[in-house]
Assembly symmetry: C2
Homo-oligomer: 256 residues x 2
């Protein structure tokens, strides 16, 4: 690709802009949030465009926006311009037809303040024609060692699993940190456990790695922990999550 | 401690037996599960006792059993024998008084087939008298660099947080693996994401590390993922967990 028109200024756009410019690809940025656009301009020394009609017809437009914005933006971008979007969930056939449209889905959690080794990030590729799919694949291959073709169905399922292993896991960390912070306990005390939780499943399947009161059928601990959550009400959700996750573990291992 | 009488043959007993024998502490084992007891005898070259009355009065009895078994066992162990138990949740004052009773709580997830660097495992110590507390502390200090005194209230809260960051996280991994396995997707594709989930919070707080559809308020993705879970019914719990975790994230970030 000679030139990328990046649409959006969120976390994904930020990390793609970083890796694209590191690859010496020319990037221009478009976004509704003008403060963010300015920041991209200065951080990456790139130009901005203020109108989607300004997109260079030779460039690849990469849409890094919320799912419900994809179709709206597509309708405003000249149908001759090649487009890739980064959504895990939107299927190709749900969108209006155009000459070249595809998906460039990086399977990672991106925050602006985190450095990411992009070469380790799996990128899932799909497109409405083989030629464009191969073009996207070759482009992705320059920046990642883990590029795969995946149709929309597969990508959706990977994205859903990603929400479980990252978004929900991180939220559990947040809830646990809240609990220990309010009790005046050093959060770092839990760090070896958190690390082992992930290292362990490099070795064992998550099914075999499970431990804890629910797995053991230690109902007296479970009751005591529910009482603790009820008497130290931080939020109703922590209690509900405790009950539901415990129920799910008990059912998984058929504990009686 | 000159001698340990280990009561129980589960994962915690196994790892304590390993670290105690590595420290050249004499260990004897007692357990209801005779197959496990035999395995301990041969794996660690230690003796077993078949009756709690046989416990050497000079030894420290370490109870690695389910919470509801602690009191039952205590009633069977001569009250002159010093006892430590490994529960995160049972408070000291809920148990019958005796000369020396305390807690030796290793904050880690233990499975028999995993090697653990015990020196990195935090151990929380409490006892019914200062002398015995110090004795347990000094004993723990030989095998871990992270020994702390913690009263029952603090320990309960740490244990609850541990259930969130380990037990529930691992169960999310299990549910996600089920999803990708059934879709014929390689589970390893999610590995860089899982690793980054943990590495990221060494740098950012879990609050700042959060990403994903719920955090972005991307309701069209959320709807699509709920549909996917409903149409590919693996189990009712995955769907309920998706809805509850999403609700909790949305409320945490006051997304509208």
């Amino acid at each position: 690709m000679t030139k990328i028109s990046l649409i959006g200024t969120g976390n994904v756009a930020f990390h793609l802009c970083k890796v694209f410019t590191e690859q010496n690809v020319e990037v221009e940025i478009y976004g509704r949030n003008k403060v963010n656009v300015k920041k991209f301009e200065s951080d990456f020394n790139i130009k901005n465009i203020t109108d989607l009609k300004e997109i260079d017809p030779q460039s690849l437009a990469v849409l890094c926006v919320n799912d419900d914005q994809i179709q709206i933006l597509l309708n405003q971008i000249d149908s001759k311009i090649s487009v890739a979007y980064t959504s895990g969930t939107v299927s190709l056939d749900s969108l209006p037809k155009r000459e070249n449209i595809g998906i460039f889905y990086p399977l990672q959690t991106f925050s602006k303040s985190r450095k990411i080794d992009f070469f380790q990030v799996p990128i899932l590729i799909e497109a409405n024609n083989e030629f464009f799919a191969q073009k996207l694949f070759d482009f992705a291959w320059k920046m990642s060692s883990k590029v795969e073709f995946a149709d929309s169905e597969k990508r959706k399922k990977v994205h859903l699993a990603a929400v479980f292993v990252n978004n929900f896991t991180n939220h559990l960390f947040y809830l646990a940190k809240n609990q220990v912070d309010k009790a005046g306990i050093d959060w770092n005390l839990l760090n070896p456990l958190i690390k082992e939780t992930v290292v362990k499943i490099q070795d064992l399947s998550p099914f075999d790695a499970q431990t804890g009161p629910a797995k053991r059928g230690d109902f007296s601990t479970i009751e005591s922990q529910i009482n603790l959550l009820e008497s130290n009400i931080l939020d109703e959700n922590s209690l509900e999550i405790y009950k539901l996750m415990t129920k799910s573990i008990i059912e998984t291992y058929k504990i009686k």
